[in-house]
Symmetry: C2
Subunit: 243 residues, 2 copies
């Protein structure tokens, strides 16, 4: 923490894994919707399988093989793939649609709401996620995220880690990249943000993908490293960091 | 008020004139910044002149003669024009830049904040303005607007009354046009929103352009007409309008 943090005006956040526990939320929502149909699978494995389709689907957009398509649409295609992989093809259209919106019903890690509230007095706050706007809006309503704006993939019309997504978030707030800090639990996301000129904050989510299956420490250089959003708020609200 | 309001899930708002009193705010900010330079003009006339450059500037974007350009940039070009028109060319660059941000320091009409708070429990709320995202963010911070997202021209990359601006606001919220209600103090805005398939609510701002110089009644058919955002909240929160 030094000079460079003094000019930071906005914090932009990764969402899946960093602010919300997608894995146990998706497992819970899948069980709620599919077990009444007589389906019994390992629900955490089901959540993991769905998430594993995430990067390959976005890669088609990033490489220009597909025009920008909202994550809700990609999630739905991925759901159809994994239902087939799990040999549970007999799920009706209405249930598939409802299940796809499980991604709008993810729960935040408990430190997030108080941490964001504490950051809001000093910084502009926005998601910089690959999730689409309506997904971000519904997660914010559910979890009390106090966003100033919804930024990220749908505004940039491309997917992280493409530089345009980070740069468009800063630009929408009329900020230079170095006035904007990307907050994420994933080193790859932070490396890409730093390459685009943003400041970076790592937040540890060591259990994101199951107990001990997440990043406890960043594997790249970052400006700030914290164990939670609440700890991040204490670092970033330190009086030495005067605006 | 009837059946058609029951399916409304989101209200999207015009900002300049409908939620904020641009005229007296711009006159005040202009006087604050320019009078110390020894400049004395009719500040309300100055505000009116600046605003009169608004539509012609956007028209270049709407007609494709200029790529989408943020309203902050158009406001700045318009400021340079009117400073010249008022024969006050000796304003330095720093002051011009600061004065241009007067549009980020507009005050809301007094009914707006309680009205939006009352609407928030039942509806998604977003601006659907020609103002850019950072301008919307700063007005929201100043006036306590509880937005779910910032929608409008910068997300659509075009200017109202082009249909894409209204349609992209509904689409970003995963809503059909008829599930979305446009709220404005200007019949022309509401006519365009209705033509795009949105529901419409008129809010009277009879003094927008000076005493008695605003729309007291809509000149087009609308779904709802109210004297304030607070009255609009009472209409739209009526128990007959169950979600």
């Amino acid at each position: 923490m030094g000079c460079s943090q003094r000019m930071i005006k906005a914090l932009v956040f990764d969402i899946f894994g960093t602010l919300v526990d997608w894995r146990t939320s998706i497992a819970r929502e899948s069980e709620i919707l599919l077990s009444p149909l007589g389906i019994a699978v390992d629900w955490l494995a089901f959540a993991d399988a769905w998430r594993q389709q995430y990067q390959p689907a976005m890669e088609k957009v990033r490489t220009g093989h597909m025009p920008y398509t909202k994550l809700d649409v990609l999630h739905r295609r991925n759901l159809d793939i994994i239902l087939s992989d799990f040999a549970i093809d007999h799920v009706d259209e209405t249930t598939r649609r409802e299940l796809n919106y499980a991604w709008h019903r993810l729960d935040a890690w408990p430190d997030v709401r108080p941490g964001l509230q504490a950051l809001k007095a000093k910084y502009l706050l926005a998601p910089c996620s690959n999730g689409n706007i309506s997904l971000m809006v519904n997660l914010a309503r559910r979890n009390g995220f106090p966003w100033d704006a919804i930024l990220g993939a749908e505004v940039a019309h491309d997917y992280k880690p493409k530089p345009i997504v980070y740069l468009s978030a800063a630009s929408a707030l009329d900020l230079a990249p170095e006035q904007t800090m990307m907050v994420a639990a994933h080193s790859s996301d932070l490396a890409a943000a730093a390459a685009a000129g943003l400041r970076t904050a790592f937040v540890a989510r060591p259990d994101e993908n199951g107990p001990g299956q997440g990043e406890a420490e960043p594997s790249v250089a970052v400006d700030v490293s914290a164990s939670s959003i609440l700890e991040l708020s204490r670092i970033m609200n330190h009086p030495d960091l005067t605006a």
